[in-house]
């Protein structure tokens, strides 16, 4: 493996803890559900299961079976969005790292995998300017409320190719993470020199999960994949005196995907996911705030054209789209959903049907989210965003 590329991949992975993307929909429940996929899977619908070719997304532990080379993959995802709420509009931006994956074949039929993927995102920030009446005199205020962190999955998996066309796999790991919520009120232009209000609350998350999956290739040009994920209770533990803890049931997921070659250079992929919230009576409470959780659907699909080649390299071109229901919403609020369409490109170095020496993929998507309408905010919240995803995969011998 080229050492420079390996260093780059490690650098990508090193940042996963510190930074994250932003959506105001992440203010509800455990935050925004995130797909821990690479740039290729992202533009092909975001499901990441049942994809032909080199698939470094570890959504299906069975799909690593048959991997011929050791490899490492990481993705980075800058997002820039516009938020609309009650006739007001603003913009924000951020970056997250949805995926770090390691593939380690033990034999031609057996491969280990380990990964770190985003599960729920809780990074957002709001600045609100207003005023308070102090002794009958209006005093301007500026509230800066920020949340950083979220929940990630850290896991190891094993894939076994029972036959060349059929593989099974299992993975187990933990849902873990930290959220820091900071609220600061300052009093700009105050003649009284008012000292700022600061409050910090921190929670940590800890819970186990397991995932099983299968891959079936009924034909060399067709692949089917299915995974089933179940999670134990998530312990939400307050780390500051006023951070209230909770025990939360995480959703159970069934994910299925398929892809097929329409021609030697054109692939179609599609998939879907059903997530059962697991929240008792649909009520989800944590961090002192009550949210409702619902069962959700997620769908996506796309096309990949690999006819553009140069020497030993292939330059895939991709198109795709996705739709997802968001699970969390507040009291008296409507549920929210998300859509995205995008395109992507990539470079495959020395590709074969099972691997390549390196892969660089990029995708850009235009998407939107809407929901959380309530009597107080009849039109709810809507967001439109540009989401870029870059991923880098490196393979050794």
């Amino acid at each position: 493996m080229p050492r420079g590329l390996l260093m780059a991949a490690l650098l990508l992975g090193a940042g996963t803890v510190d930074v994250a993307a932003q959506s105001l929909f992440a203010t509800r429940g455990l935050g925004m559900p995130m797909a821990g996929v690479d740039a290729r899977a992202r533009v092909l619908g975001g499901i990441g299961v049942g994809l032909l070719g080199v698939n470094t997304t570890l959504a299906n532990p069975a799909e690593v079976a048959g991997t011929a080379r050791r490899g490492v993959s990481a993705a980075v995802q800058p997002v820039s969005g516009t938020f609309r709420l009650a006739d007001e509009e603003s913009s924000g931006s951020g970056t997250r790292f949805p995926l770090v994956a390691i593939l380690f074949p033990l034999s031609p039929r057996l491969a280990l995998s380990a990964g770190y993927t985003s599960a729920f995102e809780q990074s957002w920030g709001v600045i609100e300017e207003g005023e308070v009446l102090l002794d009958g005199r209006p005093v301007p205020t500026r509230d800066d409320i920020r949340s950083e962190g979220g929940i990630s999955q850290v896991f190891v998996g094993l894939g076994v190719a029972v036959t060349p066309s059929f593989a099974v796999g299992a993975a187990a790991g933990v849902n873990t993470g930290t959220t820091l919520r900071a609220a600061r009120r300052t009093f700009p232009d105050s003649i009284d020199d008012l000292v700022a209000y600061d409050r910090e609350q921190r929670w940590t998350y800890n819970g186990a999960f397991a995932r099983v999956g299968m891959r079936f290739d009924p034909d060399p040009a067709v692949r089917l994949g299915v995974t089933f994920e179940i999670a134990g209770d998530l312990d939400v533990e307050g780390q500051t005196p006023d951070a209230e803890g909770a025990t939360v049931e995480l959703p159970m997921r069934i994910t299925a995907g398929a892809s097929a070659l329409l021609s030697p250079t054109l692939m179609i992929a599609a998939g879907g996911e059903r997530a059962m919230s697991g929240a008792t009576d649909g009520v989800f409470s944590t961090e002192g705030v009550t949210s409702f959780a619902r069962d959700t659907w997620r769908f996506g699909g796309g096309l990949e054209f690999t006819g553009t080649r140069g020497g030993s390299r292939v330059y895939p071109i991709r198109l795709g789209g996705s739709y997802a229901q968001l699970p969390y919403y507040g009291t008296d609020e409507s549920a929210a959903s998300e859509w995205a369409f995008g395109a992507g490109i990539g470079v495959r170095f020395q590709p074969t049907s099972l691997t390549s020496s390196a892969a660089i993929d990029a995708s850009f998507e235009r998407g939107g989210r809407s929901g959380l309408a309530s009597p107080a905010i009849p039109d709810g919240l809507s967001e439109s965003y540009w989401r870029f995803t870059f991923s880098l995969s490196l393979f050794g011998r």
Binding site: L5, V126, L134
Partner: protein
Amino acid sequence: MRHCRTLARGRVAATLVVAFALGACGQENPTDVGGPLLPGGVTTFTVTLDADRFLLSDSAFTGYTRPQEAPFFVIAEDFQGAFDAHAVARLFMPRTITVFDASGLSRVDSMPRFFGGYLTLRVDTLRWTAPAQAVEFSLYRLAEDFDQTTVTWTNRVDSTGVTIPWMEPGGTAGVHVADAIWDPGTDSLVFEVDSATVVAWADTTMFAGALIAMSTPGTRFRATDLFIELDARSTIQPDTIVRSVVRPLAQAFVYDPLLAGPSATPRIGGNPAWRTYLRLVSRLDTLTVPCPDVPAGCRLQLSETTVNLANLVFEPIAAPPGFLPEDSMLIGAREALVTNNLPIQRAPLGSAAGLFRGAVEPGRFNGDDQVPVEVSITDYFRALVADTVPRRPEPYLGLVTPLEGQHVGVASFASMPRLRLVITIPRDLENR
């Protein structure tokens, strides 16, 4: 060769990706919509506490500066019907002058004949009070010497163990030298000094001193400088007159009455300077305030809140007659480092308890001002609220003006100030 190129390009691509990623890390921007979506939030409100909730006592002490060290003179006559002040100076007459002879050489003349001069007083044109437009000052020869560091209205020497009174309180006036009229708009007051006075002052067998008083009642002036210009005729060049400028060897101002301490009501300023010491209750963290916007009965401990502002609220009262501050006065509070082994009035003052706010105008102390004066103690109060261990002795505050000794007048307040707090709490605290 192709493989090497591939690797090189891979490194370039990887570097670009990493650079992009790291660059993107710094762009985590908040949005300015979304406030209504957020749960909880905070509320900010004010509470005013009476003195008995947080204060055990207050008392004022004086003697922290000496008027003799002030960089100004005060001269007053029956100001506010009660205050008199004189300037006194010990003079030094030159023995020689320097002239140029017919050949243009510089020569020292040791036998000059002084025949007259002027005594000039630089008036502080911003700090005066007078009922009339024209104010009359009088210059006298001072008949008795004085000790510059201890002189008072009644004593020309008042050091430890030695007290020598003036024959005439306020400085023993000798021969009247001259009068001068001060008109608003001029910054100098000039007395013409006759030759007899100059000769008398030059007589080394006699004390040479000057006393300046006022003749116009109800007035108070401040002066910043005093000097004498002397005219002498040379014995070397008889047609040459030389003007020499001399400054006093010692100068001071004395006034009556002297405010005696301690005072039961807070005082700040003055010269000798006044300080007010406030003894606060211990464990301010346990102090409770009513919850805002909820029915009565809900109370919050200060330790659960964020104190954004803590201001002592003083009611200004009339200054003692004659001691209306000459100018606006900065008033602030400092931590007083009181121990059990030291009298309170000798406790050193520590760091500022809060920001020194705008200066308080002198007119606030004429007795008819109803607007309170607020003194910030926010920093110190927040530290006390964060302190969960009882303090022994109780915490003290010293109320001072940052430049002590710059006023003769004193800022005076009614006893037992109130405390105005601005507090912010998370809303979920109200709903416990």
